[in-house]
């Protein structure tokens, strides 16, 4: 168990230790896992070579905008699919389940051309606007959660004369905290880790997100492993911080889908 854990940990350990070494120490074998004199300056050197502060800003902008859209759209659509009764609801839900299983590759090229036609190529819009229309998995997750809330809540509010709009935002949404938290984290990481979309849509280097910036850095300074690893660490660090504070949500996410713990 411990050996397996160490095996899984090794790549990360290698990043951390290499990022704190002098260039000459990188390839010494056996590997020196804890550098004797950690060279923190490598991290500052990364920022001096390429504008990583811009990449961080861009990544966070796209991730935050995408996440807000994902949360709002999931709440809205899931409300329509779980708490309202109307003809056609089951059909929309079936379509939702189907899109969860459709391979996205088939729309990649036509969507690119459509975004090009409306002059969105080279802007951040293609990276975060689609999230505002919802994604099947998150809507599904939110619907499953909303189904667990008692219907009396809505009925009581309706008797008081509240519209569906008010019921959603003032009664239901405040009770969806755990599902919102889970979606927030998944959606943030999804946008933060996205590679293909920025690769296709962003060309100006000052608009690069962290994954593109890191790839550029590797291309230009690939021989300076200590710097490449410091740059990698800068990219990974937010993920580690998020995971540290939100461990529970990751496990919850799987449980909410109803796949487990029936």
């Amino acid at each position: 168990m411990i050996a397996l854990g160490l095996t899984f940990l090794m790549p990360l350990a290698w990043v951390v230790s290499t990022s704190l070494k002098l260039p000459g120490q990188v390839f010494i074998t056996p590997i020196e896992w804890i550098p004797t004199a950690p060279k923190w300056d490598n991290y500052f050197e990364v920022f001096r070579r390429l504008p990583f502060h811009l990449f961080i800003r861009n990544s966070f902008f796209v991730s935050i905008m995408g996440t807000i859209g994902m949360v709002l759209s999931s709440l809205t659509v899931a409300y329509g699919l779980s708490r309202l009764r109307w003809p056609g609801r089951d059909f929309v839900f079936t379509v939702l389940l189907a899109t969860m299983m459709l391979p996205a590759v088939v729309t990649m090229i036509p969507v690119f051309i459509i975004f090009k036609e409306i002059n969105w190529v080279g802007t951040f819009y293609p990276l975060w606007v689609p999230a505002w229309f919802g994604a099947a998995f998150y809507i599904f997750l939110m619907r499953q959660y909303m189904l667990t809330l008692p219907l009396e809540l809505d009925e009581a509010a309706k008797i008081d004369g509240a519209s569906n709009f008010r019921i959603l935002w003032q009664v239901i949404a405040p009770l969806c905290g755990p599902a919102v938290a889970t979606i927030t984290i998944f959606a943030f990481l999804q946008h933060y880790n996205a590679f293909m979309e920025p690769l296709i849509y962003i060309s100006k280097s000052e608009m690069y997100t962290l994954p593109l910036g890191l790839l550029w850095f590797k291309g230009r300074f690939g021989n300076f492993w200590h710097l490449v690893m410091a740059a990698s660490m800068i990219t990974i660090l937010p993920v580690i911080v998020i995971f540290f504070f939100a461990q529970r949500q990751f496990v919850q996410g799987a449980q909410f889908t109803g796949l487990a713990g029936r």
Partner: protein, 294 residues
């Protein structure tokens, strides 16, 4: 239709409208549009030229199409079963009462949620024939050295080994499933004299079979569309040994600007994935157990 029913319909459509619009604008529309693309030759500069089914004829004469199909199939059908096995084994281990559980969970899960570029860069180093850690470990056992990413025969296994390190998501799904196995059932089987192994095979596996099925479906769909890691680590090399479908499609679309050809490749891949998903659903009722349906 009464006024109340009309209001219900209106509100239902209103609340689900973001999704309905999204499906029309980002799925239905693009898919119809790509049917048009398939039938045309277009480099995004000159006007599109109608060529009928010319792209499919061309595919038959394009050796890289067959190559990328075989590569993708290899990566999927060797890789996904191993990924599921590892993910399941990790989940079973994490389901025990052991010390430092959350530390292990973090270690196994973290790789799958870090940006692909960051770990791909590291893995290029791990797989380095001269200084890489993997060859060093093999050396302890008197094996190797292997030219991992530089030898056509080893490049795909190398990528599969790396993919095993990224099974955290499947693991978490399995883990949630294992935690949902009712204790009463296990206890009942124990009273009936079933040992731990038999309980595992006859109680645990059937109960979580829907989760195995889910992970398999999602795993195969994802694996057929693998792109980021190969794009960064090998860019299809050596000698096209890791040229996968989506990478070839990307090159055609965004490096060679053959939009029609790339869209045709995408449709082929789409159909292949749908066929395999369909086959799995067809066989599902033979082994997937759903509670409440005996």
């Amino acid at each position: 239709m009464s006024a109340a029913q009309r209001r219900d319909l209106r509100d239902g459509l209103l609340f689900t409208s973001p999704f309905i619009f999204g499906v029309l604008a980002l799925w239905v529309g693009p898919m119809l549009y790509s049917v048009y693309l398939i039938l045309h030759k277009w480099n995004m500069l000159a006007p599109p030229k109608f060529i009928g089914l010319g792209h499919f004829e061309r595919m038959l004469n394009d050796p890289l199409v067959g190559k990328s199909l075989v590569n993708t199939a290899y990566y999927t059908f060797v890789g996904v079963p191993l990924q599921l096995l590892i993910a399941f084994a990790l989940a079973v281990m994490l389901n025990q009462q052991i010390r430092g559980l959350s530390v292990y969970r973090t270690i196994y899960y973290l790789p799958s949620i870090t940006p692909a570029v960051a770990f791909a860069v590291v893995w290029v180093q791990i797989l380095n024939p001269e200084f890489g850690v993997l060859n060093e470990v093999l050396h302890w056992f008197g094996l190797g050295p292997i030219n991992w990413l530089f030898e056509p025969g080893w490049a795909k296994p190398a990528l599969i080994i790396m993919s095993l390190w990224l099974t955290g998501f499947q693991m978490i799904i399995f883990l949630a499933g294992l935690q949902g196995v009712p204790k009463e059932l296990e206890e009942a089987a124990e009273i009936d004299g079933a040992n731990a192994w038999r309980r595992f095979i006859n109680v645990t596996i059937p109960i979580i079979s829907p989760i195995i099925f889910f992970n398999m479906i999602i795993g195969i769909i994802g694996s057929f569309q693998v792109f980021t890691t190969v794009f960064i680590m090998t860019d299809g090399g050596p000698q096209n040994a890791t040229l996968f479908m989506v990478l070839y499609l990307y090159r055609n679309a965004f490096e060679l600007f053959r939009m029609g050809y790339a869209a045709s490749l995408a449709w082929i891949l789409f159909l292949i994935i749908m066929i395999f998903t369909g086959i799995q659903f067809f066989f599902a009722n033979r082994w997937v157990y759903y509670e409440g349906r005996l």
